[in-house]
Structures are given as C-alpha cells and as structure tokens.
C-alpha cells in the first residue's frame, strides 16, 4: 500500500509537470503566432508595394499609395516622408500619416529640418538609420520633446531613402512607446526605404 501511495504521488508530480509544460507551450505558441503574423504582414506589404510601381501614377499618388499601405502595417500607423531639397539643403515633408493636424501645422511652421541636424537630417547625412528608442535620452532630440508630445510619440526611427546614385530623403516612423524599434524593425525600415528609393527613381 505504501508503494502504491508513493507511486500515486510520483505520478501526480509528473501530471503537474505536464500541465506546466503544456501551459508553457501554449504561451510560446502565442508568441510564435504573433511573430509569424508580423512576418507575413511585412512580406505582404513588400508584395503590395512592389506590384503598384508599374501603374502610371504621379509622384504624389505614388507616395500617397505607398504611405497608405505602410501605415496599415501594425505598429507603423504614424509615419512620414521628408524629401531633400538639394538646392536649399532642407528637408521638406511630402507625406504624413497618423499624425495630428495640430502637430503638422506647428511643425510645418517651426521646424526646419536642415541636413545634418535632427534625426531626419542625421540619417541622410550619415546614410544610416537613426534609431531613437527614447527621445528624452537622446541629447539631439530632447529639444523636440514638445513636438513629440503634440504628435503623440516618444520614440522614432529615421531611415535614409537612397539609391546607388541619389539620396532622396528620409522615411520616419514614430513610436507611441519607448523601445519600439529593435533590429527587425530597423531591417524592415531599411528594406521599405530601399523599395521607396527604387520607386522614386523610376
């Protein structure tokens, strides 16, 4: 009888172990599904943007369509595109998505994105993405915190839009939370900007 009781306790322990294993597998599966969905959405976005370039659209229409699709990708609802005016050496905002009107009006009047200055210009002059996962912590961006509050973002990533022969401008994605932009987001942004560069060059 003692042996049976001991066996019963042992099996109960194994049961508990399996229950935890199953719960852990379930949690992992949810994470995996989320990651799968994210990758699928990104691939579908690339497919979409690579398909409409053949249509006979004006530059404005191309940009509108491109950014409409980009803002539909989860986490990228707030984004904009600044184009380099080579003559004046300033960056002009051509498209903005998901940003409040008040922010757009105010920044249009007050912000002059000189090349080499803030994140937008910095990414273009260095030809590398600038990731600010916490604007407060970035000395070059902390002066723009008020604009961030107005626009509803605390982090941002700016990616230069380049081709082999030209720098077109900068693509910006704004984050509502801190630390939104990891390595995958930077890669995604770079591929998106590279696609945009080829589309604009066409």
């Amino acid at each position: 009888m003692t042996v049976l009781a001991a066996l019963s306790i042992l099996i109960f322990a194994v049961l508990v172990f399996f229950v935890f294993q199953i719960l852990s597998l379930r949690a992992n599966s949810s994470l995996l599904k989320e990651s799968l969905l994210k990758a699928r959405q990104r691939l579908l976005f690339y497919y979409d943007i690579s398909s409409f370039y053949r249509q006979d659209l004006t530059k404005e229409e191309l940009l509108e369509t491109f950014f409409q699709k980009l803002s539909q990708v989860p986490g990228l609802a707030k984004c904009s595109y600044f184009e380099l005016n080579e003559e004046k050496q300033i960056l002009e905002r051509l498209v903005a998505r998901g940003l409040p009107e008040e922010y757009l009006t105010k920044t249009k009047l007050e912000l002059l994105h000189r090349v080499g200055g803030a994140a937008t210009g910095r990414s273009l002059s260095t030809k590398k993405p600038v990731v600010a996962n916490d604007m407060e912590a970035d000395p070059a961006l902390s002066k723009f915190l008020d604009y961030g509050r107005l626009g509803g973002f605390v982090s941002l990533i700016t990616i230069p839009v380049l081709t082999a022969k030209r720098s077109y401008g900068s693509l910006i994605v704004y984050g509502e939370r801190k630390n939104m932009f990891g390595k995958d987001e930077v890669n995604f942004g770079q591929v998106t900007a590279n696609f945009l560069g080829q589309i604009l060059e066409g």
Binding site: S8, F12, L32, S50, R54, D56, F195, Q198
Partner: protein, 212 residues
C-alpha cells in the same frame, strides 16, 4: 484503502495519457510554427540583403546570381534560374541559375522551347498573362505541354514556378524556380518570388534609364 488507491492510480494514468497525447500534439504544432517562422524571417532577410546590395550599384549578372543563390538559401529544396527575354528571336535565354545541371541552359535555349509555345510552358504562360504561373505537379499537369514535360523529366523536376520580370515599358524576362519535390508552392511563397521579380524589374528599368 487499497482499492481507493488503485482507482486513483488508474485515473492518474488515464489523465497522464491524455496530457501526454496533448503535449505531443502541441509540441508538434509548435515545431511547425517554428519552421514556418524561420522560413518567413529568412525571406525577410533576403529582401534586406538584396535591397541593400543594389545601393552598391552591382552589375546585372552579379545581382541575378545573388537572387538565384539567395532563394536557394531560403528554400533549399528549390532550384532557380533567371531567363532574359530576347525580343527579336522571341526566346528566353538563361543568364543565371542555381542547382540546375549544365544541360539546363541548352535545353532552355533549344529552338523548340521558346515562348512561342506560350501558354504550354510555365515561363510562356507567365509572360503572356503577366502573372506568376506555377505547377505543383508539372508532369501530371494538363496545362503543361509535352516539350516542357520532356525537359522536366530529363532534369528530374516535378514542380515549377515562373514569375515575370515586368518593367513599366519592357518585359525583361522570367524568374523561374523548380523542385524535384511535388507541392512545394503556396500563395505566400509565390508572392515572395514575385516580389523579388518585381524588385528586379524596378532595378533593371532604373539601371537602363540611367544608361539612357
């Protein structure tokens, strides 16, 4: 007490059996998810590699090789090739290929195997419809012509896909993939391959405009 313990033990074994079965099922499901996720992230990485490398202004054959090699890296069960359209002769000429034997080039450029056979071969169908074409069981596909099947048999291929490389003004060629396995294509993979073909077309067109 002894009987009670026996009943408890039997119930425990029963529950353990069910849990073990369920655990196995979930573990298999998770493995499947992991494999899919890895494949999708490999696809995304390839886009990153290719779109970044065009910034260095590579030569056309170099980028073709990067695409054909890269796709085989993502899907090791695929063989790839890029065929350029010779508009004058209306034939497709293999420029870059990966995983295919030497005979492939001769077979593809041989006279009776051009896009004149449009619609009866995957490449021809893709060029005529301007849409990707694929077959998961090419040898038993009634839409595929005999000459294409002959090539497939010679090269031991059972499935294939063709993605047209279409610019705004010009058709550049076809990006083909093949496999000796059946049922390797789904919508997701075809969309990925077509996106690569579209990116190639955009880049080729820009390169041509640059050269005037």
């Amino acid at each position: 007490m002894f009987t009670f313990l026996l009943i408890i033990l039997s119930l425990e074994f029963l529950v353990l059996g069910v849990l073990f079965w369920f655990w196995g099922k979930m573990a298999r499901y998770q493995m499947k998810l992991k494999t899919s996720r890895e494949e999708l992230w490999r696809m995304l990485s390839l886009f990153s590699e290719i779109t970044n490398s065009v910034l260095k202004n590579p030569e056309i054959p170099a980028l073709y090789s990067q695409v054909t090699d890269g796709v085989v890296g993502v899907f090791p069960f695929l063989k790839t090739s890029i065929l350029e359209l010779n508009e004058e002769k209306q034939i497709l000429i293999p420029i870059s290929w990966q995983g295919l034997p030497k005979e492939y080039s001769q077979l593809k450029t041989s006279q009776d195997y051009g896009i004149s056979r449009a619609g009866r071969s995957l490449d021809g169908r893709a060029l005529v419809t301007r849409q990707p074409a694929y077959s998961n069981d090419a040898l038993n596909d009634p839409q595929i012509g005999d000459s294409s099947k002959r090539v497939a048999r010679l090269l031991n291929l059972n499935a294939g896909s063709a993605q047209p490389i279409l610019g705004k003004k010009k058709t550049y060629g076809v990006f083909m993939t093949y496999s000796s396995l059946k049922n390797v294509y789904n919508i997701e993979r075809i969309q990925f391959l077509q996106t690569l073909a579209n990116f190639l077309a955009m880049w080729l067109e820009n390169k041509q405009n640059e050269r005037g």
